[in-house]
Structure formats: structure tokens, C-alpha cells
Symmetry: C3
Amino acid sequence: GMAAADVTISGYGRFGLEYIEDRNNDPLAEDTVISSRLRFNIDATTETDVGVTFGARLRVQYDDGDTYGDFNTAQFSVGYEGLTVSVGNVDTAFDSVALTYNSEMGYQDFSYGDADGGNTSNFFAYNSKGSISSVTPGYTGVAATYSISGVNLYFSYVDPDQYASSLPATVGEELGIAADWTNGQFSVAGSFVSNAAGVDGADLLFVGAAYNFGAGNVGLNYYDQDILSIVPGDSGSQVTLWGDYNFGATTVKAYISELDLDSGLNTDTAYGLGADYSLGEGARLSGSIQSGWGDAASGWTNTSTRADIGVRFDF
Amino acid sequence: GMAAADVTISGYGRFGLEYIEDRNNDPLAEDTVISSRLRFNIDATTETDVGVTFGARLRVQYDDGDTYGDFNTAQFSVGYEGLTVSVGNVDTAFDSVALTYNSEMGYQDFSYGDADGGNTSNFFAYNSKGSISSVTPGYTGVAATYSISGVNLYFSYVDPDQYASSLPATVGEELGIAADWTNGQFSVAGSFVSNAAGVDGADLLFVGAAYNFGAGNVGLNYYDQDILSIVPGDSGSQVTLWGDYNFGATTVKAYISELDLDSGLNTDTAYGLGADYSLGEGARLSGSIQSGWGDAASGWTNTSTRADIGVRFDF
Amino acid sequence: GMAAADVTISGYGRFGLEYIEDRNNDPLAEDTVISSRLRFNIDATTETDVGVTFGARLRVQYDDGDTYGDFNTAQFSVGYEGLTVSVGNVDTAFDSVALTYNSEMGYQDFSYGDADGGNTSNFFAYNSKGSISSVTPGYTGVAATYSISGVNLYFSYVDPDQYASSLPATVGEELGIAADWTNGQFSVAGSFVSNAAGVDGADLLFVGAAYNFGAGNVGLNYYDQDILSIVPGDSGSQVTLWGDYNFGATTVKAYISELDLDSGLNTDTAYGLGADYSLGEGARLSGSIQSGWGDAASGWTNTSTRADIGVRFDF
């Protein structure tokens, strides 16, 4: 390989209108707002003479409502051929596996069909923000990915506090494994995380499969979750059927998602309908209408009907 | 147009000596300090296949006295030919119109002849700073500019809190319009802002004209203001006569500004004398002596005699 | 010279394992952690037509344990041929002189043989961090370096509060001077700082010499210090003998350091043994074992045995 040291800035911007029915279940809240995000990744890489690549990343991310932006915590990596090992603020296995986010739609890439019904707080993932988030000083991960012949393998370990010689009894080290494979037409993916989000004993399983029929895709995602934040105190399983269909610059998208709660409580069936219009050069106009889990007065989260329309452009 | 996605960093640095007589009206304050600013604009742009350009900007700005720097809030834009629409932390019409800042001088580009006598807190403008400023989470603007045949048109709207379904009685949405035109020799500009800085019922008007006589310029700026921060509780009008004259690398500058207060109180006539020496490549050595509105013990702001000398370099 | 304006991002990343015996003298603390740093320098420069160069720098630095990163305070500079004058967050003379840090080793570049036995808090230096550090608003430096015929001269002045017309009785303006010279084989360096770190009356002296014997270097560093932070309330002198030896991609390093305390108390002899393995392109694998000043229960700092192994890569 060609040896080199380089710093690049990449990311994306998005802005548009976001409507959430009975936002925050607060009558004084405006239901329709201008929702936006600007993300810059600053990546430094050094490729050594023997082809080993060292990398480091900081991110700054602004979302509407933030009154400033600062940098998040650093991710370091070392890569050689198909293997990449990273430390620090790592991408976790459960968050990185293929298919799991494929039901997302709209310029904000949201879906009630994601794990935990649209919340992602019940497992550790890369922390995009600095002081605006609630990252703890000792949060430290080690992750590895390996790619060969269309198969990607993922491993991640997160210590919630590397500075403590022992963790409190309710806190555990999160361990995640995942794999995905595609031959172009068929794709399968699976992942498992124990002590999810550092909660001792909380496990989370994902299995997904998809089929590409040329003009589009159809897939099924299944989640088994020990802790649900959308219905606090409950656990259960979730299944999401999703599909997209492309004609010219336009892609239409749809999903339907069911929660089967261990308590026997009934949530509504969540669903979404969306469309992307490609503007070229990584820019698109996107919109969606999505319906959530039910009664906003229930204390559950992600209950609302919501809609968004806006643009996203990558750079 | 040529389609492309790009990230650039631009801005300026300036540093030098700043003298303010009886600084802060505090005998323990040093009158002469090293005053400095460093500004980085990070701009991401994506130009789509059909010539529509999407843009996003974050800024980090350090001024002497700051103990850190962070990013401000994001501005997003979409442009097509002469029209640019932006959302978020927008440049407002009143702050963007031509001529209004032309009496500024010194390496710090200050003038008592600006709107509100050198303070700019009485209308909304682009917020250069993040957590160091007092930006509120819901502050959201929409602005548009259109340029054709030497005419620039500006419109801006700022909602002080887009998340609230209604604003408090004393707070209003700021609306600004402006236009300027130049044929090279003659320039005219005008702008009007209602509910200025979100203060319900506070209006602010600007009209300016200038003449370029080859070796220099002369102009007259007029402001009518419902609220004055330099003389708290008062309102009035302000007129500023300014000029500059160029010979070789040197430009000399001067202004004189009068405040006519509705209360009948008398302020001094403010004036300034300055000079720039161009060093090429966007760098200059600049200095000025300026005299303010009067008695430092009066409770008014911007009363002092001040002087500065330093350099500014753009990049 | 070629006139130009430019912005560049450079810096380094490092990560690895750090062991500190009885870390923080706290039995609940983990002795071995993943220690890391990511540093980005953003440098803007403008070279004018006559060859004068203006520069400005902000830095963002993340260290493990930080929960965010922001920018530090700005440094401005003007350079012409061998002379550079800087203001603001300056590099100080005592911190910039050659040889003084040459006993450092490991991927973290640490040595008990540095001034004050591995602490650098007893003199002012460039502040790498923003709000995470305890920089005061008025901290302002002016520094100059001049290089000619292998000789470098350094001068620095730091006012702990430029906004105050007078400083408290126990606080002083820090003044530093330094010089170093090398002819390739022999190098000598010396520096002196008064009112070190703004402590009125605290002086700090350094003299060093080194000899390059082709495959490596050997040197002697001597420090005389009015205030010691490693043994609070004490003063004394410190001498460090260091050397390195290179064969192929590997460099082995060693040092031994003695403290002679004015109080007559005995500290242990500190020493270190380390090795670097060059990976090319500014990347290296480094490790070290170092032994500190003695009894962790004594209230002294930098007492422990420590070891580190990791990588550092520059970009």
C-alpha cells in the first residue's frame, strides 16, 4: 500500500420539518418544528510502510435545540487487511451489524421498527456528542471487525468505568457479537449483546434477513429484549417487516412492526410509509409518515404519529 | 454546474493593543490590553447535478478573555442561481445589508457610528459563539437573499423559541427586510426590522447612501431606533457621516456620529479617525482613535475614548 | 517567498496500556488502564507579499477520562526570517528549550527525569486544553524565538491577568529566557524562569548537555528549583542522566534521576528503561518501565513504579 498521513473532514447535514403529534405530551409544545443535524467527522489516518493503518476520529454534532457544539470522545483504530481493532469510543457490534436499521425512512432516518421500538438507549453505541451527552469518564470500549468473502464479523466490549477496580453490582461490562453476510440477493444478519447498556443481566438479540429482487428489497427483523424503554419495566420481542422499491430517482419505503410484551399489555402496531428522491451527489429529498405504539398518556415513549420532510446531503 | 462535495476552513485572525479610557468605569481594570480574535468557519457544501447547492456552517471563535472555544449553532442553506435560503443560525437582513458597517475602523473593525452607537445587541444577528453566548435552545431563523443586476434583497425571520406553541407577551418574532444597490459609483441601502431582538414592538430602521469618487468613498447612515442600549430606557435617531481615502497601500478613514434622543438628553458627538496599511494577501496593519458618547459615570455604555493598533489577516 | 493563505490540521494519536502501581494511592482504582490521547492542531497562516508570515493556532486535545473535547485558547504569531513573535497562549522559553525532555520514553513520552520529577505544573507552558483546564481569562503571554547558525534563543513573558491593573502580592509575571545550540555532535541548552507559574519569587533553572556518538546519544540535565510539587513545601536540585541507542528500527532508552532536597529528606533514585520500534511514516510502537520517587504513602506525587506499552502515530 501507499504510505501516507492524512486528515479529512466528512459528514452530513440535514434539515426540514418534523411533526410529532402531542409532542412530549405537552400542550405548550409546538408539534411542528424545524429539525436539523450537522455532523462533522474529523479523521486522521497514518498508513505505515508495511500496510498497517492507524486511525483516530473525533466528531462534532449539532442537533436543533443544542446551544453549542463540542467534540465527543476519541476513537482509535488499527487496521490490517480485513481486520480492524478499535479502542475508546468504539462502534459496538449490536449497533454496527447490517439490516437492523433498514426500516428507517425520512430525512431523519427514523423508524419505530428499530430495536426497542425506535429508542436506541438500551445498548451501547458510538457516542456522537461530547458534554451534551452523559458520557462517563471511564467509559472505554474495545471492538474488532473482520471482513472476508462477503462475511463481516463484529465483536465489542465496553467497560462502563475502566478506572474502577470493580463495578457496582447492578452494572456489568457489555459484550456484543454480530455477523452479517450477503451474496447480493440474499442477506442475513444476527447479533447478541449481554449486559446491554451496562445493565447487569440484560440481554438483547437480533436476527434479520432480506431479499433483493432487483428493483427493491424486502426484509424481516426480529428482536428479543430483556428491558424495554418504550414500555418501562416490561420486556418482550419485536418483529419488523420492511421493504423498499425503486423507480428512477425515487425510492418508496414501508414497514410494519409488532411488539409482543411479556406482561401481556397491548401496544398498537407501528408502521411507516416514506419516500426518497435522489438529487445526486449524495443529496436527497425525503419524507415519511409513521405511526407509533399507542396512547401518549400511557407513560410509554414513541407513541405518536409523526411526519417529516426535508433534505439530507453528505459530504 | 460542476457537481461536488467539499469541506473548507476559512476565517481570520487579529491581534494588537486596545486602549479604552476608564475601562468598565473600574479603577482596578487595566485600560490597555492585548485584544485578539481567531475565527474559523467550517463550511460543507454539496452541489447537486442540477446546480442546487446545499451548505452547512459551524463556526468556532476565540476572543481574548475566553478560556476555551467551542462551536456555535449550525446554519443550513440551499442555493440556486441568485437565490439562497438558509435556516437555523441565520444571517439576518438588518445585519447583512450593505453600508451599515462602513464607518468601522481599526484592526477590530469598531465604530461608535454603527446602529445603537456601537452596540449590536438590539437586533438579532448570526451568533458567532456557542456556550459562551447566551443562545437559547429554540432560537431558529429562516432567511433568504436574492441578487440580481447589482441589487441584493434580504429577508429574515427569527423565532426566539420554535419549541413553544406561543411566546410570552413581551417577546415577538423578529422580522427583517433589507435591500441594497450599487452601480459602482453610487450605493444605497435600507433595512427595517420589527420586534428587534425579539422585543415585542421594538422597531429599527436604517437608510444609507454612499458615493465612490475613485480614490475613496463618502457616505451617510441614518438609524431610527425604538430601544437604545447605550442610554438605557431611551429611544432616538442616529446619523453617521463617514469617509475613506486611499493612496497606495494606505487608506485613511474618518467618521462623525450624532445621537438625537427622544428624552432630550445630550450625548457627545462621537467620532473616529483611523488608517489601514495593506500588507497584501488579505493582511493589514490598522489603527484608530475613537471618541464615544460622553460621561462614563452616566451609566451609559460606549462613552469612552478608545484607540487600537494591530494586525488582521484573512485565510 | 511565495505568498499564500492556508489552514492545516496536524497532530498525533496514541493509545495503549498504562500501569501505575497503587494508582492515586487508592485501593479502588484500577492500576492498568487504556490510556490515550488525540491532538489536533488547527493552524492558519498567511504569508504576505514581503515575506512576513502571520499565524494563528487552536488545539483540541482529548485524553482518556475526558468526557468531551473543546478548543483551547488561541496563539497568534508573526514571523520574518529567523524571528517569530507570538502572543496569547504562547509556548514559553522554559518549556521550549532543547534537551530538557530528552529522557522521556514510552508511547506517552513520560519521564521522572523531567523538571520537578515528572510534573510540569511549576512553570507556565502552552495550554493544550480549553474548559477542561483551569486557564484564567486574563492569562496572556508574549514570546519570541530567534534562530541563527544552529543557535536558538527563546524569550517569554506571561501576565497571569492582563485585565487587572495590578496583581495580588503572591502573584508575579513570569519571565523566561533560554538558549540552545547544536553542531550535530555536541548540544548544550540552558534556561531560566522567574516567578515560575506566576508564583512570586519562585525561580527555576535548567542546564543540559548531550553528545551524539552516531548510533545514539547520551546527556546530562540539571535543574535547580525553588518550589517542588512532588515533595510539597520543599525545594532542591535534580540531575538526570539519559541515553539512547539505535539499531535498525529499534531504539533503546534509559535514564536515572536524583533529587537533592534542601530539607535533607531522602527520595529514591528514579529511573526508566524503554524502547521504541519505528513503524515508518511517523508511527512507532513504544514501551517503558519507570520507577519513581519512593513511598506512595508519603504524600509525595510521582512515587510509583509505572509501565506503558502502546503506539503513537503523527499526522
